[in-house]
Symmetry: C2
Subunit: 194 residues, 2 copies
């Protein structure tokens, strides 16, 4: 095998998702993933610490993309609007990878261990967004609450995008979920206007 | 040792928190916890699966208490108000146990493994509250979002209660955090009124 391995990382990810979908996550070994990708186990472990991590490399890229997008949100926007801006910017990332995203989502749902890992990634997203909001001048407690709410929106918009049969983009699901959150929080104020 | 072990569970919890606080979570063994409580390791394992679980028995009781309180919230209240009602009802549970809660909180923060466990308990709270809201007639997507938001409030109110030097009760921190969430979600509406 050549030592030159173009896009080894992408090939390993694609091979892992194929095998996990075909034979199940528990039943698949790193050796099988490497073989399907035409690479060695040694190459696998140069990129990923274990069987799980190959599914979460995208989450790290996503976190970076979300932090960057939030940093670029227009200065005058409220914390939640800035988060909405950041989340909508993730739209193309998800929409372009829809088939892989759906397969990955089904694999994650199949394993308790993977679901746990996914939830922990969520809390790392909250930790990454909070200081970005603080740098926008948001008070620390509010920044934390806004980051928590933003990640709830991120997550629930993702689930409704996965379930969407009508092919609407991720950004549209973000807008809907944000609107639900606003309606939820506004409920008593609306009642008092009656 | 007598086979009659009054409040073995409570004695094991108190002994574990003492030892984890004195010597650190990693350094303490189940044998030491059992010895400090005047019980056997066998008794320990009748109550808790491992070293970690002794710190999380309270979370399960709490989840039950929160589900019950939410079920008892007045029928006409909005989802977020019902959650506020449920969370405020946890006030005495926390306030009466403040010294243990603060010690437990410091122990959890000392260990990555314990923090992970705490985060997973959070998602189990969301899963427990969602169907209760649905039974109140809340539409499933909104119920899930309300449960997510409610658990963010639960968690952030708890952190600000822990940090509170002025001795205000947990319920007061719930009210403050809920008010922050409403202000956050209302921000653009307020801006449009200018």
């Amino acid at each position: 095998m050549s030592r030159w391995e173009p896009d080894a990382l992408g090939r390993l990810q694609a091979a892992a998702i194929e095998l996990y979908a075909e034979h199940g996550y528990e039943q698949t070994t790193v050796a099988e993933i490497a073989a399907r990708a035409g690479l060695t186990e040694r190459t696998y472990f140069r990129h990923f610490a274990d069987k799980r991590e190959v599914l979460f490399h995208g989450s790290e890229m996503l976190q970076e993309a979300l932090v960057t997008a939030l940093e670029e949100a227009p200065a005058g926007e409220s914390p939640l609007d800035a988060i909405g801006y950041g989340l909508r910017r993730l739209g193309p990332f998800f929409d372009e990878r829809r088939p892989q995203s759906l397969r990955r989502h089904a694999i994650i749902r199949s394993s308790h261990e993977l679901q746990e890992r996914e939830m922990l990634k969520r809390s790392s997203l909250v930790a990454a967004l909070t200081p970005v909001l603080e740098r926008r001048g948001v008070e620390p407690d509010v920044a934390r609450l806004a980051a928590e709410s933003g990640i709830s929106v991120f997550h629930l918009a993702y689930e409704s995008w996965v379930a969407d049969q009508r092919g609407r983009g991720y950004a549209e699901h973000v807008d809907e979920t944000l609107a639900s959150l606003r309606a939820l929080a506004a409920a008593p104020a609306a009642a008092s206007l009656r």
